[in-house]
């Protein structure tokens, strides 16, 4: 509708969408920013503070006395607290009890006759009349205003993990047929349930709905047992790609059938009739009329199914195994987390790495969610 473009309410639409988008992306934005932050900062300051210059309290440790140099008869250890990251120091201290005792530029007398001077730019000097001793460097507490700082380290770490490329391919090998096969099977079934007459149709539809609810976890053990038996019978491994495709197919089918049937039932009857008069068999009608016209529904479902199979870990682990040759991307990334979990910097980065492929799929398929696919076909209500 071209006319709506000019509607005076358009700006309201823009604003509401903007609001909703902000609301929805806020959490993800947090994730994204967090994934770009230093891992130690994640736990101590809100992600939104990373966007602005912030004042932070920090501790740095000067190099150990081994690195002292003798200058003008004094022993000096020098360095920079900010290590080139920019920012400005306002206060510093040397005791955990008084971390901001001194203003930048002042000189603090340390307990053992040394003195510490910290400049606003972060450079410091520890000066002593005598040679400094000990193995540990001096801790320097400071308060600094630091500009936003981001790092790609987290991504680097994730992407450089061994076997990640292999897992990527594994994931694709799992996800693509696991998306296409159920769509194909479901589309045929949906057509039969929407446009063919046979006894028990309504019951079947209800059964499909009912099966939507079957918890995946319930199915795993009986199915794996079945797989093991079949595998043993055929003398092949129980954990094959074929197996996982079929498993995903089975689990994805109810939703696929349900969604597709609903969509197909809404197509104008006259088109089907017309094709029937043209001599098309059910198979022809399905392939040449229904499938092309159902693209929006197929695309929507493809997006979801791809997403689920791509992000799935449980089914993959159970039916494909955890060996290096079979490990899918999600599995690989989870393994990176270490056995105690909770490396959020890894989690955040890998969440974004896994998100990329589904988003591409979404973008690619989104254009099939087109308007007016049926335009011009029939007239009337």
């Amino acid at each position: 509708m071209t006319s709506s473009k000019r509607s005076p309410l358009t700006w309201v639409v823009h604003l509401s969408v903007l609001f909703l988008v902000l609301l929805w992306t806020m959490p993800t934005a947090g994730l994204l920013i967090s994934s770009l932050r230093d891992k130690d900062q994640l736990a101590v300051s809100g992600w939104w503070t990373a966007l602005a210059t912030s004042s932070r309290n920090d501790v740095a440790r000067a190099p150990s006395p081994e690195s002292q140099v003798e200058r003008d008869g004094k022993f000096v250890i020098a360095g920079n607290l900010l290590q080139g990251q920019g920012g400005e120091i306002s206060a510093f201290g040397f005791s955990s009890r008084e971390p901001a005792k001194f203003q930048a530029g002042e000189t603090a007398e340390l307990n053992d006759g040394e003195s510490l001077t910290v400049q606003a730019d972060g450079s410091y000097e520890i000066v002593s009349d005598t040679r400094m001793e000990g193995s540990r460097g001096q801790r320097i507490f400071f308060t600094a205003a630091t500009p936003p700082r981001f790092t790609l380290e987290n991504y680097g770490e994730v992407l450089s993990a061994a076997g990640i490329g292999r897992s990527f391919i594994n994931s694709l090998t799992v996800a693509v047929p696991s998306t296409v096969i159920p769509i194909l099977i479901a589309a045929f079934a949906a057509y039969a349930l929407a446009w063919m007459r046979f006894p028990g149709r309504a019951i079947l539809i209800a059964v499909v709905v009912g099966l939507l609810v079957v918890p995946l976890q319930m199915s795993l053990i009986p199915l794996l047992r079945l797989y093991n038996d079949v595998g043993a019978f055929l003398g092949v491994s129980a954990k094959t790609y074929m197996g996982i495709w079929l498993a995903h197919t089975g689990f994805g089918l109810p939703l696929a059938i349900y969604l597709l049937r609903n969509y197909m039932a809404g197509l104008p009857r006259e088109i089907m009739e017309s094709a029937r008069v043209d001599g098309a068999s059910d198979f022809d009608i399905f392939v040449k009329i229904i499938l092309p016209l159902s693209f929006p529904a197929l695309a929507s479902f493809a997006i979801f199914q791809f997403l689920w199979t791509w992000n799935d870990l449980l089914v993959a682990i159970v039916f494909l195994g955890t060996g290096n040759d079979q490990l899918v991307l999600t599995g690989r990334l989870v393994n990176l987390l270490g056995s105690r979990g909770g490396n959020w910097e890894i989690l955040t980065a890998s969440a974004f790495i896994t998100i990329v492929v589904p988003l591409i799929v979404f973008f690619a398929l989104q254009r099939y969610l087109v308007r007016g696919l049926l335009a011009g076909s029939v007239k009337g209500g």
Binding site: M1, L9, V21, T173, A206, A351
Partner: protein, 335 residues
């Protein structure tokens, strides 16, 4: 190398599937030809093929559904009548236990809360967003952004929401967005997910946040199927945006809205990842699916009780099934 093998298997798998449909149809027509034949023979063959063909179309789906879903359902029912190892028959004892279990009752109550809130709000937001984004030039970008939560794995989602609900003591810096906002407006920070009853809603927000993308995509496809002329007619009838939306568009996609609603409702019955990751049912936020998971796998698992909870989850879906049968019947009347 694997890449080639992978692609080859992929193609083979998909082709095999397509070949099945083509071949069975071909064979059916070969056995019961109707072309060329005439008279009663042809029409008898036709009748036969017409009764067989729907089942040919359905066969692979029915096969997969039976193996992957119906068979496990039967297994579950069987297991639910057995003890923890699935070895000794115990009758209905698991169900008796369940009814008397406080946690189970808590879960049922929470599940109903979820069922009331999540499908409604997800569908509502999905619909609004689908409709609004269709009218603006950056709609696709907006959609992608709102879809994003769907693409994030549950682990990722859990981290994200940790950064929202995180609680630090009053006075110290809040790293949870919600508390930061509350504090900024002069409120007291709260440990959101530990507030009994209310924490259910904080968990629901997460699922809504994820499922809105689902609703949006499906409804968007449906909205685009609405004949544009009817919208034009409404414009001419003087309807404004709201009226067109609620009186013309929504009623026309009512069927799809029902489908989305049903799907999300069922998903809510199954929801457990979120609860598991955020609270694991503590602070009175337990839900059925998580309870089932708990009994199934934790500490070696009690298959009997786990299965009996699963059976309850499946029973809960029966009203939805009946409702769908009705709908399908109504539709057939229209055809």
């Amino acid at each position: 190398m694997q890449l080639i093998a992978a692609i080859a298997t992929m193609i083979a798998g998909v082709l095999a599937c397509a070949a099945y449909f083509w071949a069975t149809n071909f064979i059916l027509d070969l056995i019961f030809p109707s072309k060329g034949l005439s008279g009663p023979a042809a029409s008898r063959n036709l009748r036969i093929t017409n009764t067989i063909r729907p089942w040919l179309f359905l066969a692979p789906a029915l096969f997969a559904l039976t193996i992957y879903l119906i068979y496990p359902v039967i297994q579950s029912v069987w297991l639910s009548l057995h003890d923890r190892a699935g070895q000794n028959f115990v009758g209905l004892r698991n169900y008796v236990w369940m009814v008397n279990d406080g946690e189970f009752r808590q879960s049922i109550f929470n599940n109903f809360l979820w069922l009331l809130v999540v499908p409604a709000l997800s569908t509502f937001f999905g619909l609004i967003i689908a409709a609004l984004t269709d009218r603006i030039w950056w709609g696709n970008i907006a959609k992608t952004l709102i879809f994003m939560p769907m693409a994030i794995s549950f682990v990722g989602a859990a981290v994200i929401w940790k950064f929202i609900y995180d609680y630090r003591a009053a006075g110290s810096e809040q790293i949870g967005l919600l508390n930061a906002l509350v504090v900024a407006f002069g409120g007291e920070p709260q440990a959101w997910i530990t507030l009994p009853f209310w924490n259910n809603f904080f968990l629901m927000v997460i699922l809504i946040w994820i499922q809105t993308g689902f609703a949006m995509v499906i409804l968007s496809a449906a909205l685009r199927g609405i004949p544009e002329e009817t919208l034009e007619a409404a414009v001419i009838d003087g309807a404004n945006g709201w009226q067109i939306f609620f009186k013309i568009m929504v009623p026309q996609i009512w069927g799809t809205i029902a489908v989305v609603w049903t799907t999300i409702t069922i998903l809510v019955l199954k929801v457990f990842d979120i609860v598991l990751a955020m609270t694991n049912g503590q602070w009175q936020s337990q839900v059925l699916a998580n309870l089932m998971f708990d009994w199934m796998f934790r500490g070696g698992g009690d298959f009997g009780r786990g299965a009996s909870i699963a059976v309850i989850i499946m029973v809960l879906v029966i009203p939805i099934m009946i409702w769908n049968i009705r709908n399908a019947a109504k539709e057939t009347g229209g055809h």
